[in-house]
């Protein structure tokens, strides 16, 4: 099949911005490492969103100017951040009690794979990874009210990441509620994946070709 490319994938910033559009004022949100962290740059400060970091910060603001760095104020990705008025500190145990207790409206995570039943795989590419870096991802995946995944639609070698079943070790079962890729926004529903947005010009058929699990239009 010859496909006429009449559409453009989103770049990382545009993808982060696309996701940021959907975060309403008042939500408490944790942003994972990678593209998720970029999301914070696209939530305008006048839209009050309360950003949480696992290392005990609630109410983070954007990165500081280079000459205004507070070396005691880093996020869970070890990046310097600022505090918004209204911010507060807590210990690691209180911070994860908050996570595990379902008090975050949203956590945005990167992923290797997402399955149509909402299963998430984002910490190991193989069962043989015997010394992985898990951090807080399993706690966040199991705990937040909503898990939105932001990832590239396909691997570098072109394999699908939106699958019938994950082939990599799971981070959590059935936790993902929405996926943002450079091509589309896809809800995870009881009936499987449902495409709710695509980049202009892209067809559902072209998207399906790049996707292992069946896609529905809502």
């Amino acid at each position: 099949m010859v496909e006429t490319v009449t559409w453009q994938p989103l770049d990382r910033d545009a993808l982060a911005a696309r996701l940021a559009r959907d975060i309403p004022e008042g939500w408490s949100v944790n942003l994972g490492i990678g593209i998720p962290t970029l999301v914070g740059n696209f939530v305008p400060p006048e839209r009050e969103v309360i950003f949480h970091s696992e290392n005990g910060i609630l109410g983070m603001g954007p990165a500081p100017a280079p000459d205004k760095v507070n070396r005691w104020l880093i996020n869970a990705s070890s990046q310097y951040v600022t505090l918004r008025p209204g911010a507060s500190y807590m210990s690691h145990s209180d911070s994860f009690a908050l996570v595990r207790g379902g008090h975050l409206d949203l956590c945005v995570l990167g992923a290797f794979q997402v399955a149509e039943n909402g299963d998430l795989a984002n910490w190991a590419r193989s069962d043989d990874d015997n010394a992985p870096a898990i951090g807080g991802a399993m706690d966040l995946a199991a705990g937040a009210k909503r898990i939105w995944v932001v990832m590239e639609h396909n691997t570098r070698s072109g394999d699908a990441r939106l699958l019938r079943r994950c082939t990599y070790p799971l981070t959590a079962k059935g936790c993902v509620t929405r996926v943002y890729t450079e091509l589309a926004v896809i809800d995870v529903t009881p009936a499987g994946f449902a495409v709710i947005d695509m980049v202009p010009g892209l067809t559902i058929e072209a998207l399906q070709e790049r996707t292992d699990a069946p896609l529905a239009l809502p």
Binding site: N55, W72, A76, V99, A131, P132, A133, G135, G136, P169
Partner: protein, 228 residues
């Protein structure tokens, strides 16, 4: 008069035994008790179980403790990660045991130890490889796994300010694992950037009451190193 302060790092660390479980606080070097870690290397205890967020990064601190062959087992949430060069090498040759825990489960297991709770159920890691070999149980239709308390024989803690009773105040994100580790160990050893007079720390702001602290050493370590 209660006075938990001691004169030196060596005095603070005296008596830590081979085979001890040592909780080491800090998150990415913020709130990390580096002087006590270095002191522990000097002190000489071997065969340690170390609980720390990572398996060490770079060549200093926990990484150096591992590199010197003093850690029998590391319990952490980040093992293989950027900069974990020493751990990688020691682990590859079978020189260290590893227990990987989700970061929140690690924190809560220590909180349980501090709070007299021998075991609790959590949904974190249920249905994953990390749940293998763990008891599971369904509550209200959801699967949870049983996790056990994780007490320390020793905790190494960094505070911003402390008084002679061992009351502690932390600075910014320097709080992190410090309060829960301070409360979860039999012997809690603190390095503090500043000493305060008794009564100077506001009762509303004390994040670790002195009841959890055993020894206190004044180490004006300064700000954490600048990240690039």
């Amino acid at each position: 008069m209660i006075d938990k302060s001691v004169r030196s790092v060596a005095e603070a660390l005296a008596g830590i035994k081979d085979g001890a479980t040592v909780l080491i606080a800090g998150f990415a070097q913020v709130g990390e008790p580096r002087a006590l870690i270095d002191g522990l290397i000097e002190q000489g205890a071997r065969d340690l179980t170390v609980v720390h967020n990572t398996a060490g990064r770079g060549r200093e601190g926990v990484a150096r403790l591992i590199g010197e062959g003093r850690v029998r087992k590391i319990v952490c949430s980040f093992a293989r990660s950027r900069g974990s060069v020493i751990f990688e090498e020691v682990f590859a040759r079978g020189g260290i045991e590893l227990e990987i825990l989700p970061q929140g489960t690690m924190a809560e297991r220590m909180r349980a130890a501090a709070a007299g709770i021998p075991a609790f159920y959590t949904a974190t890691a249920a249905g994953t490889k990390l749940a293998e070999g763990k008891e599971s149980r369904v509550f209200n239709g959801r699967e949870y796994i049983l996790e056990h308390a994780l007490p320390g024989d020793v905790a190494l803690v960094e505070a911003w300010r402390a008084d002679r009773w061992g009351n502690l105040v932390y600075r910014d994100a320097g709080r992190n694992f410090n309060p829960v580790m301070a409360a979860a160990a039999t012997l809690t050893i603190v390095q503090t950037q500043h000493m305060a007079e008794l009564g100077e720390l506001p009762p509303e702001e004390i994040a670790t009451p002195g009841i959890y602290v055993d020894r206190l050493v004044h180490v004006a370590a300064g700000d954490p190193p600048l990240k690039n």
